[in-house]
């Protein structure tokens, strides 16, 4: 039936395809470009790419966690703590070694927080929502205490290049996207992840190492959030204990909007990219349209809700077909 619909009507085909959110983004761009002065310009395209990279990288880690049926609310805390730890190690230094140590520490701390979450969720069988919510609060507070609320500047120039030079950040995002995509689509690890999200009990009976797999997904999520932090900290030239505090809704929103299920078992890395792209284009377009903040917030909410309703309708239709 679905094949018939697709054959008969290309519009229906687009509506049913997994590229639907990308199509919505194109429609949004084309519809708003006449009103958002400068949206269809190379500078704006660069802004959009620069803004979406950290969101996408953090969203990539979250996607894997969501596919297993988990959730990671600690992403903002990982970003904040890794930002200040790395900045503290690098401030006032200029050598490549200090940058390597700083970035290594950031990635290590990110993975360690992920491991902390993973251990509590698997060993103590605590709900992921509670564990990651608690670690978000704890590590956010720890970051503020660690710096006594002050920001850390004077970072080495060769580190700042990681955030400021778009090709470097873009390369990191592409590599992470491709590696995680291949991991999910071409490896036994990926098949286990989907199996775990679809039915954890069945996956366990089938020999999937559920505990180790769950642990690994949280480590990967923490690691991805730390990479996002490396880029954000470099771009803002500052280690900040509140960095990324407002990012959680955007990361979760974009990932789910892309099509990854909050209930597990379904998700793709490129879906997350589409979701992030949609949110970033929407944000930039509304900003360029010179609407008041209240109008921007309400429009953003309305457009996201509209997109979510259309997408949910589409999924029901696909399932029915």
């Amino acid at each position: 039936m679905r094949a018939n619909v697709l054959a008969r009507n290309p519009l229906a085909g687009a509506f049913l395809s997994e590229y639907f959110v990308l199509l919505l983004t194109v429609i949004l761009f084309v519809a708003l470009a006449p009103f958002a002065v400068g949206l269809a310009s190379s500078e704006s395209a660069l802004n959009i790419v620069a803004y979406l990279i950290p969101l996408f990288i953090a969203g990539t880690g979250l996607t894997i966690v969501l596919i297993t049926g988990g959730i990671d609310l600690s992403i903002p805390a990982v970003i904040a703590l890794t930002s200040v730890v790395g900045a503290r190690l690098m401030t006032g230094e200029s050598s490549v070694i200090s940058v390597a140590v700083g970035v290594g520490a950031m990635l290590g701390v990110g993975a360690a927080i992920g491991a902390f979450n993973g251990v509590l969720i698997t060993a103590l069988r605590l709900p992921a929502f509670m564990v990651t919510l608690a670690s978000m609060l704890f590590f956010n507070g720890f970051a503020v205490w660690f710096t006594q609320s002050s920001n850390i500047g004077d970072l080495p120039a060769n580190y700042l290049a990681l955030g400021k030079q778009l090709p470097i950040a873009l390369t990191a995002a592409v590599v992470i996207g491709v590696v995680f995509h291949l991991l999910l689509s071409r490896t036994i690890f990926g098949r286990w992840i989907y199996a775990l999200g679809q039915n954890a009990v069945a996956a366990h009976i089938s020999g999937v190492p559920v505990q180790r797999l769950t642990f690994a997904t949280y480590v990967l999520s923490g690691f991805c959030a730390a990479i996002a932090s490396v880029i954000l900290t470099g771009r803002l030239e500052t280690g900040s204990p509140v960095l990324g505090r407002e990012m959680l809704l955007d990361v979760v929103g974009a990932t789910v909007l892309g099509g990854t299920s909050l209930f597990g078992g379904r998700g793709r890395i490129y879906w997350t990219f589409f979701g992030v792209l949609f949110l970033t284009v929407l944000d930039t377009a509304l900003n360029l349209m010179n609407l008041s903040q209240f109008a921007v917030t309400m429009s953003k909410g309305a457009v996201i809700l509209f997109a979510a309703v259309i997408d949910a309708t589409r999924r029901r239709f696909v399932a029915f077909a």
């Binding site: 500078e43 010179n290 921007v296």
Partner: protein
């Protein structure tokens, strides 16, 4: 046919949209087109920022300057994107309330590279190679003056007071200045004031309320409270009422209250006789100076890196005289 017409109309609009960004920057001095200034606030969460935003827009309107507005929802990364969007739109100047003193440096640098003058409203940037002008209240001095007035009232009561201070987000240089002003004022007055609670609010009303409730439970005899921002007064008043300690000046059990900002709530509390004093930031002065600084920089004039708003302390003794300059009193109207 209708579809073709629609496509044609859209194509025209699209071309206009694209061509505008190619952007011949408007020229105000020639009188042909007004200038455009981008105004980016990190938040509009409190009355003070809304009043500042409106004061800047009103000042720009008065000078026939167009406004592009943006608010970053307390997200420095988003604010950087917004500043870059302003640059994409080739604005003639930028006025910004940054999230903090450091994360704004790449934003200022981006404006510098695009040769767009930039002024910081109410929050200065740290020293760096990035060039901007900051128009800021003298937080430390104004707080010190406000708390000194409160201490004077405490001294008149003839008894020693236990004090609570509600701190702001200590990542915000203004909050740090107000904390330092408070500490400087109480230092040397230990025979009158004993600070028993320093409540962190992170500029969050719920956190402030929880902190004040806890502090009042731990120290029921607190009789002197200074808040780093007037917007936290509803939380404080609620906690004081719950503890049956919200009394007018002159009534037995009155808690000496002081604040900073000069918002509408503080004005009403002054009028009703509950608030002893508040340090008022002169929003209109700061807005006018920010706009003027951008225009002066654009004209190539020398502008100091920091323009200080002296502000003033308003209290029961000078309320009638000073109320006209208190932005919160005007918001109320």
């Amino acid at each position: 046919m209708r579809f073709n017409q629609l496509v044609f109309a859209y194509a025209m609009l699209f071309l206009i949209g694209c061509s505008k960004q190619q952007g011949d920057a408007p020229v105000a001095q020639s009188g042909e087109k007004p200038l455009t200034i981008g105004v980016s606030f990190e938040t509009l969460q409190t009355e003070y920022w809304v009043a500042g935003f409106e004061a800047i827009k009103s000042e720009l309107k008065k000078r026939n300057i167009q406004v592009l507005e943006a608010t970053a929802d307390q997200d420095a990364s988003r604010q950087l994107q917004q500043i870059k969007n302003f640059i994409t739109r080739k604005v003639d100047g930028i006025i910004m309330v940054p999230k903090d003193a450091k994360t704004c440096i790449p934003m200022i640098r981006a404006a510098n590279e695009a040769k767009i003058p930039i002024a910081l409203f109410n929050r200065p940037a740290d020293k760096s190679d990035a060039k901007s002008v900051a128009v800021v209240a003298d937080n430390t001095k104004l707080t010190q003056e406000t708390v000194a007035y409160m201490i004077e009232q405490a001294r008149k009561s003839g008894q020693k007071h236990k004090a609570m201070v509600i701190l702001g987000d200590l990542g915000d240089i203004n909050a740090i200045g107000r904390r330092d002003g408070f500490e400087a004022a109480v230092k040397g007055n230990e025979e009158i004031i004993e600070v028993v609670a320093r409540v962190p609010s992170e500029w969050n009303q719920e956190k402030a309320q929880a902190g004040v409730v806890n502090a009042l439970q731990a120290n029921p005899d607190i009789s002197f409270i200074f808040t780093s921002s007037d917007f936290l007064f509803p939380s404080i008043v609620s906690a004081l009422k719950a503890a049956n300690k919200y009394k007018k000046i002159g009534e037995s059990g009155h808690v000496i209250l002081g604040g900073f900002d000069g918002d509408a709530t503080a004005y009403q509390m002054l009028v009703d006789g509950y608030l002893d004093a508040t340090g008022v930031q002169d929003v209109y002065f700061e807005a006018e100076q920010s706009v003027q600084a951008v225009l002066d920089m654009r004209a190539g004039k020398e502008v100091p890196e920091m323009i200080l708003d002296p502000g003033f302390v308003i209290h029961q003794g000078n309320l009638k005289e000073k109320a006209q300059r208190m932005w919160g009193a005007n918001v109320k109207k």
